[in-house]
Symmetry: C2
Subunit: 218 residues, 2 copies
């Protein structure tokens, strides 16, 4: 349902067609907060129209058709009442880099690989940062006070991330620290379990080979 509000919100910025919405999302700052695909836009627009939240106006009846949507009074009110609802706290954080990091030790993965992931992340984050700065300078884009606040938020968050990455890479380049809070010696157990699972397989493979040889000899 959140997609409905994204759609209402985009129309509130300026009347537009389904096609325009996607372009707006991809170009503008909304794309940093939400995704929109045609597969969801058009069916949703249809229903929003049925519900009387938006109104379509055909533009260019000749050949190339285009439906430009505008909010109805109901639509403006619906948007407002959504804005007034307390937004949910954004947890869990869906970030594969962090999720992977949690399992790094148990899986016995290489430190350098994680460093590579972090460096790649850093590059992308710096890209986002310069993109935002570019933007704030370029006065062709329409950014009101609230949009600026969001850009500032993203900037500060990405900057915090970049600093963390620097510290983290520095730490990972030093020899591994022993688990600080490992009252149950889990780290040791993990290593043993890993070794066992992989060795058992070898044994199984050996046995298989052996039985094949026996079969061949029969």
């Amino acid at each position: 349902m959140s997609i409905d509000y994204t759609i209402l919100g985009i129309i509130s910025l300026a009347p537009c067609s389904g096609y325009d919405m996607k372009a707006e999302v991809e170009r503008g700052s909304i794309g940093m907060l939400s995704a929109l695909s045609f597969g969801s836009i058009y069916p949703r627009l249809k229903q929003l129209e049925e519900e009387g939240l938006v109104e379509a106006q055909q533009v260019g009846a000749d050949g190339r058709r285009k439906k430009v949507y505008e909010l109805t009074g109901e639509g403006w009110r619906e948007l407002l009442s959504w804005l007034e609802e307390t937004p949910e706290y954004p947890l869990p954080i869906h970030d594969d880099l962090l999720l992977k990091t949690i399992f790094w030790g148990a899986a016995g993965a290489k430190r350098e690989t994680l460093i590579q992931h972090l460096q790649a992340r850093r590059e992308e984050s710096l890209g986002v940062l310069s993109y935002i700065e570019e933007w704030q300078k370029n006065d062709a884009a329409f950014i009101d006070e609230y949009g600026m606040l969001v850009l500032t938020y993203i900037k500060s968050r990405v900057e915090a991330e970049v600093s963390w990455i620097a510290l983290t890479i520095a730490q990972l380049e030093r020899p591994p620290e022993l688990p600080i809070q490992d009252s149950k010696w889990l780290a040791v157990l993990q290593k043993a379990r890993r070794k066992k699972a992989l060795e058992d397989e070898e044994v199984a493979k050996d046995e298989e080979v052996a039985s094949q040889i026996v079969e061949e000899q029969e």
Copy 2:
């Protein structure tokens, strides 16, 4: 598919049952990064077993049954190869507070309401912060070097957010700034469109009332 890796990852920390996994996610730091419900755990575990990535061992055959899962060699290898893949950049940010903020001006919502949302967010973020600090002290939990790095990440990110909130509230308490980059006078247009949509409705309502009166008189 990411859920599969979350499951493999949790088992890598320690062999456990489906039920245990959910508990682990809800108690531990994994819950900050990912969610797991029984409706996805059990079907996935079943298939992971079929694929030979995990192995179940029945525990307590008497009455209360419990299946404890362990990774196979294949499972450890699959987990590792996932860890080696470069994680995707976490965009878009799915945060309703920010999405709402973008539309705040166009919708003509009240500044105080946004301040309230920010204050609520601040409270929750401070809660997360103290939760994490509590945790880092409490040595009953098993947190290895990598887990610590993730906690540090979350901490720094939430701290950045709290600082941003303070600045933002301070700004919102001052009178609104005019749009900085409004080459097309969109802010003015938005207000006009809003007014028009709501007034048109009033007119429509008046007409409706009028026609009803006419009907009644007939």
